[in-house]
């Protein structure tokens, strides 16, 4: 898409677009190429040129049991956080959309946690879930040893899921609320006149109308849940206890920066990249569908 009226200049457009292209070349494309190179080679331990090993790094990581645990945890976290934060975001938005008195108070209270950085929120949750002195630790007063995320993997995973759901509810809430407020009032009023109660109106009218938003958010949540969560995991559990909260992203960091195993870390990057590209392409199909659905004004999503 381009304007009918354009400016004529030989060098100016290149000068304007240059900085961004230089930055993405240096910090996006070069590193990606380097990761590809590392995924298929091994650096000899005593220096010298990298040795081409073909698919060995990839097969090694795909068959490693720890990686299977990381995949499993990533999927569990991804599904759980998506369901919780999407569900609660939708419920909060539906009620906030009723426009009662005091709405500005509720909206602010639900929105401002977006500004809290995930690792900072993780510290607060860490304290809440602390087994001896935290608020949740009170269950240990009733039944000693009932709750201990430092030793019990399932507890640790639950704790991480709750913390990361909390950080992503606001995002969904804001989108759902915007979608709900875009529904013309007269449609809902007409349904009410015809005798449809609030539940009936929600399931037969409101929800179908915001379903494009719902699908978009679903895919956005799933994609970001693959890559986010680093801050929360690094602060709360460091992947432990015993890999119980190890995820695909966290393992890339651990193997690359702590284990200094560039080849394995890059092979994992490659796998995650493929996963993200697959989901993003899926997302693009939904965005396209949304564009058709919503009408013509946003129809130039692609060139």
């Amino acid at each position: 898409m381009i304007k009918r009226v354009v400016f004529e200049d030989r060098w100016l457009p290149y000068l304007l677009i240059g900085p961004q292209l230089l930055i993405i070349f240096l910090f996006f494309y070069w590193p990606t190429g380097q990761a590809l190179f590392w995924s298929f080679t091994l650096e000899p331990p005593f220096g010298g040129d990298a040795v081409w090993v073909g698919l060995r790094n990839l097969t090694e990581i795909v068959t490693s049991p720890v990686y299977h645990i990381a995949i499993r945890n990533t999927l569990i976290m991804s599904v759980a956080t998506t369901v919780i934060s999407l569900g609660l975001g939708l419920i909060f938005a539906v009620f906030a959309d009723r426009g009662l008195r005091g709405m500005i108070f509720y909206k602010t209270a639900i929105m401002w946690p977006y500004a809290v950085a995930a690792p900072v929120a993780a510290i607060a949750w860490q304290f809440i879930f602390q087994p001896q002195i935290g608020i949740f630790g009170i269950v240990n007063q009733w039944y000693p040893g009932l709750w201990n995320p430092a030793l019990n993997g399932a507890h640790a995973l639950t704790m991480v899921i709750i913390a990361s759901s909390w950080t992503s509810i606001t995002f969904n809430f804001v989108f759902f609320l915007a979608g709900l407020q875009a529904i013309p009032n007269n449609l809902v009023e007409a349904a009410a006149m015809d005798g449809a109660g609030p539940m009936r109106r929600f399931f037969d009218l409101v929800f179908p109308l915001i379903s494009p938003t719902f699908f978009l958010l679903l895919v956005l949540n799933v994609t970001t849940s693959f890559t986010e969560g680093f801050g929360i995991i690094n602060v709360m559990t460091q992947g432990g206890p015993g890999n119980a909260t190890q995820t695909m992203v966290y393992k890339i960091y651990q193997d690359g920066f702590i284990g200094l195993d560039l080849s394995s870390s890059s092979a994992q990057s490659l796998l995650l990249m493929i996963l993200i590209i697959a989901v993003t392409l899926l997302q693009f199909r939904f965005v396209e569908r949304k564009v058709h659905y919503a009408g013509s004004d946003k129809g130039e999503a692609s060139e």
């Binding site: 380097q34 510290i123 602390q130 909390w166 989108f175 680093f230 690359g256």
Partner: protein, 304 residues
């Protein structure tokens, strides 16, 4: 509101109160704990009302975490990221919309594809390039044999090295590219009537003049919306500053704070740490609460 229904209104208020409670809960707990003297942190049942040590604990956290430097670093890097992202997004979108030039479509797609390469999946090689931004030039010299040529002719071995580790540039530059911001402005520029560009061309103004005098003032609300989102984004960066800073001189607040956190240790000074957490979250929270309208606009528009 469609109908008057006291029961439904009651349910609405009940659910929204529960929502507000759930969302504020961790911060409320932090606030209460941050006001406690150390002896009362481990108290069970938990106190519900604040005590009077908030400022004392904040001062302690400030001192313990060396927050004077870190606050400065956070402010500087956040400002560079926010301003840099907006400038880069605007000029790129301007070139894409108002010029016809070769490789325009290619440039568009190159920027678009970066959406699929989040920092998390390319951290190690990105770190490598930041530790030597001249590496691509060095490699090109080696591949083309120029390095060998220079070495044989002059006897000088070519080693180009420029590290951005522990600099503000290293902290910010890799985060400044913005596909979403570029698309936001591109979308917006496309809605601006052609007549405006036509009229200013007729009046003899060049492209830059048009950008400065017409586009920039028209983009004010979009700039504000993007600025709010990018400020929060920049302030809350964690993974990247963790990697590219090795000492306290260039560390940001999120790193300094999480370095203080004790794991799940029961005897730690949680009151001081949580007071520090409140200090760290304060600037972005203030921005989001005070600029709520732009925050919502920015969030909905950039992540569409």
């Amino acid at each position: 509101m469609i109908e008057k229904s006291p029961i439904l209104n009651f349910v609405t208020h009940a659910i929204l109160l529960a929502a507000a409670f759930a969302m504020c809960f961790p911060i409320y707990v932090s606030l209460i704990t941050a006001t406690m003297p150390f002896e009362r942190v481990a108290e069970v049942p938990k106190p519900l009302w604040p005590s009077d040590q908030l400022l004392v604990n904040m001062a302690a956290a400030w001192k313990k975490g060396a927050f004077s430097t870190l606050f400065m670093n956070s402010i500087i890097s956040t400002l560079i990221i926010t301003v840099g992202k907006i400038v880069i997004a605007m000029i790129t979108a301007f070139a894409l919309v108002y010029f016809r030039f070769r490789f325009r479509a290619l440039a568009f797609w190159m920027i678009f594809i970066t959406l699929m390469l989040p920092l998390e999946v390319r951290i190690v090689p990105t770190y490598e390039i930041v530790s030597n931004v001249l590496l691509p030039i060095q490699r090109i010299l080696e591949w083309t044999g120029l390095a060998w040529l220079i070495q044989t002719l002059s006897g000088v071995r070519v080693v180009l090295k420029l590290s951005l580790i522990n600099t503000y540039l290293g902290l910010t530059l890799p985060l400044i590219a913005t596909a979403t911001g570029t698309f936001l402005f591109r979308q917006f520029f496309l809605t601006i009537p052609d007549e405006l560009a036509e009229a200013s061309k007729m009046d003899g103004s060049g492209a830059l003049r048009f950008f400065w005098d017409i586009l920039l003032p028209l983009s004010r609300t979009n700039i504000a919306a993007l600025a709010v989102i990018m400020f929060v984004f920049g302030w809350n960066q964690y993974l990247w500053p963790l990697l590219v800073t090795t000492g306290p001189e260039y560390r940001t607040l999120t790193i300094g704070l999480t370095a203080m956190q004790p794991g799940s240790d029961a005897t730690a000074d949680w009151n001081v740490i949580l007071a520090g957490a409140l200090l760290v979250m304060m600037p972005p929270v203030l921005v989001v609460v005070l600029a709520q309208r732009w925050f919502v606009k920015g969030l909905v528009n950039t992540d569409k």
